[in-house]
Symmetry: C2
Subunit: 344 residues, 2 copies
């Protein structure tokens, strides 16, 4: 029987709850589809940091490298460890080290789920650059603590980095409704964002079948709530993608429904699958966290592994469950319902 | 009779339509309230650029300095001049040169206007830093045109800049419902945004009557559509404020309803009043642009000049007009209706 080796990083807070839920569903789906998933779980988290002084061991990245994929819950617990430390110590280094440059986030209203918009159709795919740009981590502070203090933060965009994510976006648009929206802020940021726009413009000649439009991030945020039907695939920088995908998550009914995949398209290192939501420490371990984002992320993992039938089975189970109108019931019962549906 | 000297910068596209509409309403309101407005109009725009090679004359800033206030329409016409040139040549230098560090943007649903959210209450005040941060204009590109090209864009935050906008935010919260939301992305940007969070934290001790909460920009975008009622005053950096106020504009029914004031709180230079919307060249001069954002911005100007009664008269006329259900009729007729209402 084919076996995939999966690294589990439950992380913090509800990350643990939803990873457990997703794992139960994925394992069942695997067995029913004739393959197996072999999990190794690592306790890297803010608690781990408090004991060991780092979010993961020095060889953490090398430990993860041999796996077929990584399933992550959520990272961060601000009362224990500042987010700027915990995220830069675990989540962000993995995305960068494994060149998971494409962060894919599907946003659509599942059957039976009511979103905050009057509009009842919502189906976009966000492609977020995941390794550079505004998340480069370059910067510093001078005259710290004085009135004269200055902090700088530098966004770094490389041609390779911008070109590969745009190409990925064009390909995804080609596979969907053929419309690509590229998001920048080139009217205010005349180095980085003008650079991005130029590359978009140049690449568009290679994809004559894709209709590409450039939007400013402010206009795109407005468009997502005013005319979501006009959008298909949206490609954006690391920060802009981050913002638009939380907005997309809200529109699809909440962060608890938003899945994501951090993909290394060249498969030179493992890809990582994680819900868009955070660790929500205040509701951790109460059995009420919505597991759907994590389970959906797991389905994206199965898809990436080539197990299309199993992925479809999981998605069908999620949709059958929400369609029964239990989108709003507590997490634990939802997990049970999805599990039951997978088995049926 | 008291006279205020106002510089008009209609700018491009519908900027001209809405400035004319606003001016007609403001002049009438002034006369009825016993003062007068004296306009000097400057043609600085993309057309001006095509003729003169710059968006405004070299002494443009000094020309504007003696005025009591500036009323601006919209700047930009991408097919004629790249936005990165037109905005950096006119709008952004004015905001910076006149230390208009507080960009105030009220977002609320006017009577009779239906927004895209199911929720029917929306009333927040966004305070956007307007002179530094992500709009510093610092950066560059190397190896231009080669595969090795890199573009960098540096955000610069000063303690003076951050402290003054946060204090402004605290004061505004004090004058409203006492709640301040400070927006950063300190989990990913560990220099600039951590700096901002630290200053927020320290200042909060001076405003014990204000309840301040820090949010990440992604979570705030989601919150604005999911739980807008939980928000009162929102304070954010230049870029984050830009994004959130377009989102706020969308939620209040569209960009055509969103007013703004670029305020120099020390009154050491003129403040500037402008609708949030852009120049929308495709609908310019058709008489269909919504003038309400510009008229509302004009009311904010009267307020700033100390003409509170006239400002209230203009706002009442806007609201009387939208309440009659004509929020959705074309711009020209709306202007006429508001004008008639001001006079009544
Ligand atoms: C936790 C945070 C650093 C992260 C990000 O901004 O990338 C999260 O918001 C996400 O969207 O995955
Ligand atoms: C035109 C553009 C540079 C401007 C900005 O981003 O500040 C506009 O979007 C605004 O919000 O006033």
């Amino acid at each position: 029987m084919k076996t995939y080796k999966i690294a589990l990083l439950p992380g913090d807070g509800i990350g643990r709850d939803v990873t457990a839920a997703a794992w139960a569903v994925l394992e069942k789906a695997a067995r029913l589809n004739g393959f197996s998933l072999d999990a190794t779980s690592y306790p890297w988290s803010c608690d781990y940091y408090l004991e060991n002084g780092s979010m993961m061991p020095a060889d953490g990245i090398e430990t993860l490298r041999p796996f077929d994929a990584i399933l992550l819950g959520a990272v961060g617990w601000p009362r224990k460890v500042p987010d700027s430390v915990s995220l830069h110590g675990l989540l962000l280094p993995i995305r960068k080290a494994f060149v998971q440059y494409a962060n894919i986030r599907p946003h659509r209203l599942l059957p039976g789920v009511q979103g905050p918009l009057r509009a009842d159709r919502f189906d976009i795919l966000c492609i977020r650059e995941n390794t550079e740009g505004e998340y480069s981590g370059a910067g510093g502070r001078v005259h710290q603590g004085t009135d004269n203090e200055v902090a700088v933060e530098t966004s770094i965009f490389t041609r390779t980095g911008v070109e590969r994510i745009l190409r990925f976006g064009f390909e995804q648009a080609r596979a969907r409704r053929g419309k690509l929206a590229s998001v920048t802020k080139s009217n205010a940021q005349k180095y980085s964002m003008v650079f991005w726009d130029e590359i978009t413009q140049r690449l568009s000649a290679e994809y004559p079948d894709v209709e590409v439009t450039s939007y400013h991030i402010d206009a795109m945020a407005a468009r997502m709530v005013m005319a979501p039907d006009s959008l298909d695939v949206v490609v954006a920088s690391n920060l802009f993608g981050d913002i638009l995908t939380d907005l997309g998550a809200a529109i699809q009914g909440g962060l608890g429904f938003a899945a994501s995949a951090n993909i290394n398209p060249d498969r030179s290192a493992p890809s990582m699958f994680e819900p868009v939501h955070g660790s929500a420490p205040d509701i951790a371990h109460l059995g009420i966290a919505n597991p759907i984002a994590a389970i959906w992320s797991g389905a994206m993992m199965l898809e990436h592994l080539g197990e299309t039938a199993a992925a479809a089975r999981v998605m069908a189970s999620i949709e059958a469950t929400t369609a029964r109108g239990i989108g709003a019931i507590p997490g634990k019962d939802k997990t049970d319902a999805i599990l039951a549906s997978v088995l049926s």
